[in-house]
Symmetry: C2
Subunit: 670 residues, 2 copies
């Protein structure tokens, strides 16, 4: 690695951490809450709005369903939080839904959960960042043209922060989350107080009516139910990320489970309070929001009208207009927390991927910890996929949100079902009546959770599949198949490689027949010969390929002149290529004596600059890779370091941290 | 190489040729003429026009200089052809100007010639193809929008034909060149006959006057001389490629020198005849041609007027209009021969590059013959550079032509000067009076050539430098410096590698200390241990890096359980990386016993599909490349072929020609 790239890496990442420093990155509750809960908390910023956006498809007629839908979401969230508190206690190792489903329902179900969660983490990043950018644009309309670049810059910043490691990313995220919570609660409190004092806040849009979309006007029966259900599933975005804490238990300080459960309870309480507050305030203030501003009646010049988010409208109404400090504070905190909410996924995705890699369902590189003890490869993978998604969907929240939630509820349902089986199994062996009672209660909680989330999953499938959720389903399915394939590959490899009889497998081949490849007679060749001879082979010969006859004859002459006592075998190569004749020759040796091993020695130049490689024939590299495919062969490179290599090696070795990075210390000249 | 790419390669190149088939590609004179002389012959198509284009800058006033300028060009060409006939006889090995200058004036002068020639070959391709495309567009104006793509397609076709080998490219080029020569001679003959019979051909543009460019009107004194000299240097484009035959002597049939000299004489005669004929006819027919059609007086709608080339105007005038068969025949033959003229460079450039590579001034890959015995790498390099140039200059002849000629006259001058010294040296030792007389004549011929070409070189520099020739000078200078650098690198390397005391350098190291790298305990590891043991090292140990402590402890336990009698050394790696600790350890061994050699054995997986590599840690590759930088180390790869590798290997091995391509025959399963 060059010094420049090494310096840039340090600049972005900070100093490398020793493995023992892992303990230092454990999280206290006050940091764990913003890290793992910024997603569910921030979704308050759009959940209410998403409910209203669906209901107003039918004009103002169905807005009276809002409180009921909000109540259903609150109920659902309570059930899910209670259910996951059980998970945190029963499975403290951090596998979360994936581990629960795998253990209780088998590995296929576990993989379904894993695939669904991985897809959902990507969606969390995409939706949160897109929504955050939306709010930035609401506050500063001049930025409207930079939607996609802004989104990508934010993803890049999140990536950098996360590559620096969990604890520091927690610090970066603690403040905005708390500022957001404080701002929203203050806004709701002030607004409701004003309502109680008889001076209710009124949204700037309260004056407008809404024209219904023709297809959705005056619905009755099933059609109306479907519309309300669609509004409900849109509101369910508030539940995304609730399971993040159950995946992150190992990152908590001890006692891990208790701290995690407490954090989860706090998160549930705050989220429900905020959601109820915002929704109530939206009803009180008569907020109007539609998918198309031109459906607002009484609005002149709808084409150039920039619709503000529900939170923005409320903040303006409560704090006294769009120029007030309160408005800007809430708007800034909202934008910030939405972008940071993506961080929940940046914590969850790499952890889950690392567990899957450990279980050999994903490439094992995803289990490597980087310089800062974060799972760097997972972080980078998430950033790339989310970035592509944001770019492909032009960072449009409405398009992205349809791909969302499906995975969340898939994993909720399978996880809660698994928990029911878990408690059943516990009850079969448990005898302590107090514990038995507690297990039974837990089973009821998780059973309720399973039934309700399954119901919601069906509703989500019914209402969202054709609107984009099919892509999420497809991605999860592809992921599922791929993960099984990877596992099969690793299993096959492990079975092939499993040691059965160490004594037999350690038995050396009967003879070593050594071949030294020679192109010209020089010091590098002689060194290879000397090293080869030092391995005391049963037979030693030099081998050259006669690409043209004159130089082969010249080599033969020099060979004899130098009095080298190793026979030189010359292979004809009528088509002027080197690899083929050598492979054929090596294979012919093996055919004659299949129980022996052929050792091929290749003298190699080591140059100091990459461009110097152009000046030396690179046939050795190709030949080596082909020889490795030949059975019963070992390939030995005998390097000859050119002076330029020694010089080039020198300064790099002195760069700070070079030793740790695997670069050599200044070598004694050979 | 996959079967598809192999098939495509065969389709473009034809079957591979054995080295012994090289003799078959020698050329008879009737093929050598069109191959090596299509450039100077075809330049008749634009040389006259270039003279006129400069003269008409001053309106019609200076056109009376045309015959004198043409006479100067003819004189110059005669001198150069006579001079180069001497070169062909004196240096039959094909180095041409480069060899003459190197031998007689030293390697620096030789390299100047080489750099100038390499640049000029590139320019020949660019200018000829661009001019050819111009003529195609003159005949079919609808193609005007496809100038650059057409030029690139032509370069691609030339490349493909040349990769197939010299002889076949000769066949492809013989017919059009002869058709062109026949057409032009017939045109000149007919036209002049008509003139003598009192019915002179009249060009369609003869009716127009030409308004002078203000700056060039009514010149006197030095300014007029400069204009005439500029016209003269433009006419000198007729001389480009004259030296091609002297570079190509080895491609001639025996007696090579005599055949080459005869071919050169024939070429000179034909070129001079055609040039004189075309220029005379242009004067007779009152052809008008300007750099800007709007300077033609009496022409309505000059903006949309497509100016025809001089050849096209003459053909139309002689053969009865632009619809006549004669017009189309001459036009087609001209376009074709111009594009094929680029082939002179496709013959000359790779040959010169190969000679330079043999002299270690260029990477030695340029000296490799491809499947069809052509110098494939040189051909590809030329095609790429010329393609870039055509693309950058939008295939515009007028822009490109300014970069031209400078190199030609540089090499002419240095070559002729070298020849003068050559004859002087011959005369010092030669005693036979007949030969002495002949040598003296030769010296006079070459001396005249040297003086005259030097004069032209100065004129070219004066008139063309600021118009674009500086770029050619710069390119040649960069090339010159680079070639010297490459030679220095090769020389340093050769000196470093030169065998001084074979017996001492063959002495094996005192001991071999062998280290087998272990990550986990499986069959691949055991095989590496077994092979390592078979080399009977003086010390054998297994080495593992403890990236995390638990798995290292587990490995240690398994190791003891399996009863492996090789000590397992565990290296701590607090920063979780593998390369650094291994390098440090290997170096510490070497420090303890500097006279020993360390053999590092690395068990390696061989997989069947590239994507399977993603599933296995690739740290071995990086580690290997770093170890090669460590003195006193040899690195042995012990491959373990996974089943998938054996399967993947199978079908490829059966593809036709696989063995020759260096792919393995179906291997016995290991």
């Amino acid at each position: 690695m060059s010094n420049v790239t090494a310096f840039l890496k340090r600049l972005v990442l900070g100093r490398a951490l020793r493995s023992e420093e892992l303990g230092e990155t454990l999280l206290p509750k006050r940091l764990a809450l913003p890290i793992f809960a910024s997603d569910p908390l921030s979704s308050v910023a759009y959940a209410t709005q998403e409910i209203l956006l669906v209901l107003t498809l039918g004009g103002l007629a169905y807005l009276h369903f809002t409180p009921w839908i909000a109540a259903a979401v609150v109920f659902l969230m309570t059930v899910v939080v209670l259910s996951y508190r059980q998970v945190v206690h029963a499975y403290p190792s951090g596998g979360g839904s994936y581990e629960v489903a795998s253990t209780n329902l088998g590995s296929s179900a576990g993989l379904v959960v894993a695939a669904a969660l991985l897809v959902d983490y990507v969606m969390t990043v995409a939706v949160s960042v897109a929504s955050g950018v939306d709010n930035v644009i609401s506050a500063v309309p001049a930025l409207a043209g930079y939607r996609v670049p802004m989104a990508l810059v934010f993803v890049g910043l999140l990536t950098a922060v996360n590559l620096r490691g969990v604890r520091e990313s927690g610090r970066a995220f603690a403040a905005p989350t708390y500022l957001f919570v404080a701002g929203v609660l203050l806004m709701c409190g002030t607004g409701l107080l004003r309502y109680l004092l008889g001076d209710p806040p009124v949204a700037a849009t309260a004056q407008y009516g809404i024209e219904p979309v023709p297809a959705e006007a005056n619905l009755v029966g099933l059609a109306l139910v479907m519309l309300v259900l669609r509004a409900f599933t849109s509101g369910c975005t508030a539940l995304t990320g609730v399971e993040a804490i159950s995946n992150g238990v190992p990152a908590f300080r001890r006692p891990k489970s208790r701290n995690a459960a407490a954090t989860m309870a706090a998160m549930g309480l705050i989220a429900v309070t905020m959601f109820v507050g915002v929704t109530t305030l939206a009803i009180v203030a008569d907020v109007r929001v539609t998918d198309d501003p031109c459906r607002l009646t009484g609005l002149p010049d709808c084409e150039n009208y920039t619709q503000r988010t529900v939170i923005a409208q409320l903040a303006a109404a409560v704090f006294g207009g769009e120029g007030s400090f309160g408005f800007f504070y809430v708007q800034a905190a909202t934008a910030l927390v939405l972008i940071l909410a993506a961080n929940t996924a940046f914590n969850g995705f790499p952890l889950l991927a690392s567990i899957l890699a450990q279980h050999r369902y994903l490439p094992r590189q995803l289990h490597n910890r980087g310089d800062r003890l974060a799972f760097s490869n997972g972080i980078l993978a998430l950033a790339v996929v989310a970035g592509v998604l944001l770019w492909a969907y032009r960072a449009n929240v409405t398009s992205l949100i349809h791909l969302y939630i499906l995975g969340v509820f898939t994993s909720f349902t399978l996880c809660q079902t698994g928990m029911v089986l878990h408690w059943g199994r516990e009850l079969r062996t448990e005898t302590d009546p107090r514990l038995r009672r507690r297990h039974r209660t837990s089973r009821v909680v998780n059973g309720t959770g399973a039934v309700i989330t399954a119901l919601v999953l069906v509703i989500v499938l019914l209402t969202k599949f054709t609107e984009g959720a099919w892509l999420a389903v497809l991605a999860a399915a592809v992921l599922w198949v791929t993960m099984r394939g990877i596992r099969r590959h690793y299993d096959t490899t492990a079975a092939e490689l499993a040691v059965t009889d160490p004594r037999k497998e350690l038995a050396p081949p009967s003879r070593v027949l050594t071949v030294v490849l020679v192109s010209r007679l020089h010091k590098a060749t002689l060194r290879a010969l000397a090293y080869a001879r030092a391995t005391r082979p049963d037979r030693l010969e030099a081998l050259t390929v006669a690409v043209d006859r004159e130089s082969a004859a010249e080599l033969k002459r020099q060979w004899e002149e130098a009095g080298i006592d190793v026979p030189l075998k010359v292979l004809d190569s009528p088509y002027r290529e080197i690899t083929g004749p050598v492979l054929l020759y090596v294979r012919s040796i093996r055919r004659e004596s299949p129980r022996d091993v052929v050792a091929v020695f290749i003298p190699e130049y080591v140059v100091g600059h990459w461009w110097e490689n152009v000046l030396h024939n690179q046939s050795a590299l190709w030949l080596k890779s082909r020889l490795l495919f030949t059975p019963g062969v070992m390939v030995t490179s005998v390097p000859w370091r050119l002076e330029s290599a020694a010089l080039a090696d020198h300064p790099a070795a002195r760069a700070p941290g070079a030793v740790r990075r695997g670069e050599p210390v200044p070598p004694p000249r050979s």
